[in-house]
Amino acid sequence: MHKDVFKNYQKNDKSALIPLLQDVQSLYNYLPEEALKDIAEFLGIPLSRVFGVATFYNQFRLTPIGKNVIRVCRGTACHVKNSSNLLFALETALGIKAGETTRDKNFTLETVACIGACSIAPVITVNDEFYGRLSVKDIPKIIKTYTTAQQKAAVEIKAEESAA
């Protein structure tokens, strides 16, 4: 279906790479491997270069995104306020590493350089919501807010496993 997007572009127009990547990403919320191959073929650019550009810019993602995106600020102010502990707590609770998505596709965990809310450091965002002055103890509650009953069971099992 991403090939429909190609209609808005000229074949072999190498300068269309970034806009085309953006369009395809807004279609799927990420850039599937098949789509990158098709883009390379359509624009006459080696796949290695398309892949290089897609991995260079933070705006592009190569793995599917979860329903909820949690971003942990790793800027200076948050770092000083131990945001690494928040990140670790989230990774443990969700059973994934930063940059990954949970198997049920409910959460994607990311780090960002600075969210721009240093006054309430340490801070995380979930989708468009800000949570400031956090401590590790607050994490389970936040996760719960975004978890349906069914998913909750799964997450709890994970948490138990990693505690054991």
Binding site: I45, P46, L47, R49
Partner: protein
């Protein structure tokens, strides 16, 4: 003309020249890393920084053009400090493997560390770690040793126009790799090894077969046979500081015997054989209105390229095996029988200027029953290492002759190692086959030299042949597009994937000077010119081989043993 001053020396430079080139013209050396001659500068590494009067920061001399009255300092304390820091940062992020590295004493990073007097670790910290990619049969990629100069990326993308590898990610995590970091074996790579030739470190290197070969030599049950490609004899001397283009055939034969090979044959013999088969195939195609144009098939890099990218033109590629595979096939059939050796005991090692030949020798269809035609391939560089290991002082070796009958060859075979050579050799024989007479003028100047696409027309007894020679895989695409569009005017096209041909193959001694290639080429034309016999069809041993064993060129038997088939690798790669 522009006048400038470099280190207090007055320099007359051409308009548009870079500071780097202007300095070089008066014997001032400026170090470079990312710079590649004949390609546009990227200014990525900054090691070439110099001070230009009136400019605040340091200036990358490889990218900056000279101007009238410019005053340049290439070696001020500030410049030296900056360069040293760059080298220190590179070294600290590099595995401390020098003593066990295949590029030890032939590494640009080592050279710089020495030149800038690094004596302590000032920036020790986290270093990158990456797995080594050993997925291909020909090459290894070791990204931990990569200093991100980008030369391989540019050769692959801009010269070869393949683009198998590129920069991915950014900052500390940036790495030169294949898409999705998958193995080279399933990328667009054709294993030509041109990237190895430009890599300043050991981040890119051939996959070594020295262990297998030395095991075979130590195995008393193996009848080990070496064969030498045309292009190796004109380059190996470089590793021993002999003048460029020295012909070391005689020493090579002696050296290989001393390593323990029972027989040393010449791939040139099989090159003559290839010509017999290929010229007959061409004439057959022309006279019987079969698929044209016909491409040569000696270059496995080109064959792999066609299989991966244009499977629809595989009918156009000659079905002839490449010369060293033919030699192997004849060794394991005709020769084994003649000498009363069990072919299973024969172990054939090809000494090649090429990395793709390793992949080629692994192709399942290049075998007699289940025996591979060629058991192992060593590059020129590997052979030099082998000689060193065995305590063989190559430069002092006496000369000796090839074994026979698979050692005899003609001048036509010698030039197989250079772009245009296969074409020239084929024309000499095609002419004879069509007219029954020898050509009086044997040299085809129009297909010699370093042009990316060389063309000529020859009329042989009323038959006009349009021929083309593609020099470097980056120049092949337009020709293929013409064929696909049905507008190609050619009958016969030679393709060699490496710019300059095998003489500049990915397995050859590492150098960074394009001008070297022409000198190596000359050596091969010299060998040809000095030969008594210069046409493949006059190779007496080849004649006997046909009489005793194969019958006619393109006979049923010849087809069985000397020809091969190709596969649609586009499909294989996509699944």
């Amino acid at each position: 003309m522009v006048q400038l001053t470099i280190n207090n020396i007055k320099v007359n430079a051409e308009e548009g020249m870079t500071i780097l080139d202007a300095a070089k013209s008066v014997g001032i050396h400026i170090p470079t890393l990312c710079h590649l001659k004949n390609l546009a500068p990227t200014g990525a590494c900054r090691i070439c920084s110099v001070e230009v009067e009136g400019q605040r920061g340091l200036t990358p001399s490889c990218a900056y053009p000279v101007f009238e009255g410019m005053v340049v300092e290439t070696n001020s304390p500030r410049v030296r400090r900056a360069r040293k820091t760059i080298v220190e940062l590179l070294v600290e992020n590099h595995p401390p493997d020098c003593l066990i590295c295949v590029r030890n004493k032939n590494c640009e990073l080592q050279d710089l560390a020495e030149q800038y007097g690094l004596r302590e670790h000032r920036f020790a910290g986290e270093t990158k770690t990456h797995a080594i990619d050993i997925s291909s049969a020909s090459m290894e990629r070791d990204p931990a040793k990569c200093i991100l100069c980008g030369r391989c990326v540019r050769v692959c993308f801009e010269v070869q126009k393949i683009g198998a590898i590129d920069f991915t990610n950014r900052g500390f995590t940036s790495i030169v790799t294949t898409p999705y970091n998958k193995g080279l074996n399933i990328s667009d790579c054709i294993l030509c090894g041109q990237c190895i030739l430009v890599c300043p470190t050991a981040a890119l290197r051939e996959k070594s077969s020295l262990k297998e070969v030395s095991n075979a030599l130590n195995n008393k049950n193996k009848y080990t046979i070496a064969q030498i490609a045309p292009a190796v004899r004109a380059t190996l001397g470089e590793e021993y500081n002999m003048p460029l283009g020295t012909d070391v055939t005689g020493q090579l034969v002696t050296g290989l015997r001393r390593l323990g090979f029972k027989k040393v044959f010449d791939t040139n013999f099989a090159a003559d054989l290839t010509i017999m088969e290929e010229a007959s195939e061409l004439i057959n195609r022309v006279q019987n209105n079969k698929t044209l144009p016909m491409f040569t098939s000696c270059c496995p890099g080109w064959v792999k390229f066609a299989e991966q990218n244009y499977p629809q033109i595989l009918d156009h590629v000659s079905s002839c095996k490449s010369p060293h595979e033919m030699e192997g096939a004849i060794l394991k059939t005709y020769y084994a029988k003649k000498m009363g050796i069990d072919p299973k005991d024969i172990y054939v090692v090809s000494i090649m200027p090429c990395t793709v030949k390793k992949f080629e020798s692994n192709r399942a269809e290049l075998a007699e029953e289940t025996m591979p035609d060629v058991d192992a391939v060593l590059t020129t560089r590997e052979l030099v290492r082998f000689f060193k290991m065995a305590g063989i002082d190559f430069a002092d070796l006496p000369q000796s002759e090839f074994d026979n009958p698979l050692g005899e060859s003609t001048g036509a075979a010698a030039i197989f190692g250079t772009s245009g050579g296969v074409m020239e050799a084929a024309l000499r024989t095609a002419y004879f086959k069509l007219t029954g007479e020898e050509l009086t003028q044997l040299d085809f100047e129009s297909v010699r030299g370093s042009g990316g696409l060389k063309e000529a027309s020859v009329t042989i007894s009323g038959l006009k042949l349009n021929i083309a020679v593609v020099n470097g895989i980056g120049n092949v695409e337009p020709i293929i597009k013409d064929i696909l569009a049905g507008t190609s005017k050619y009958h016969f096209i030679e393709v060699m994937a490496c710019p300059g041909g095998c003489i500049n193959g990915g397995g050859q001694p590492i150098h960074q000077k394009p001008e070297k290639v022409m000198k190596r080429m000359k050596a091969l034309y010299q060998i040809d010119a000095e030969m008594q016999t210069r046409q493949s069809h006059n190779n007496e041993s080849v004649k006997i081989l046909y009489k005793e064993f194969l019958g006619e060129p393109n006979s049923h038997k010849a087809h069985e043993i000397l020809h091969t088939k190709y596969f649609n690798r586009k499909e294989i790669l996509n699944n």
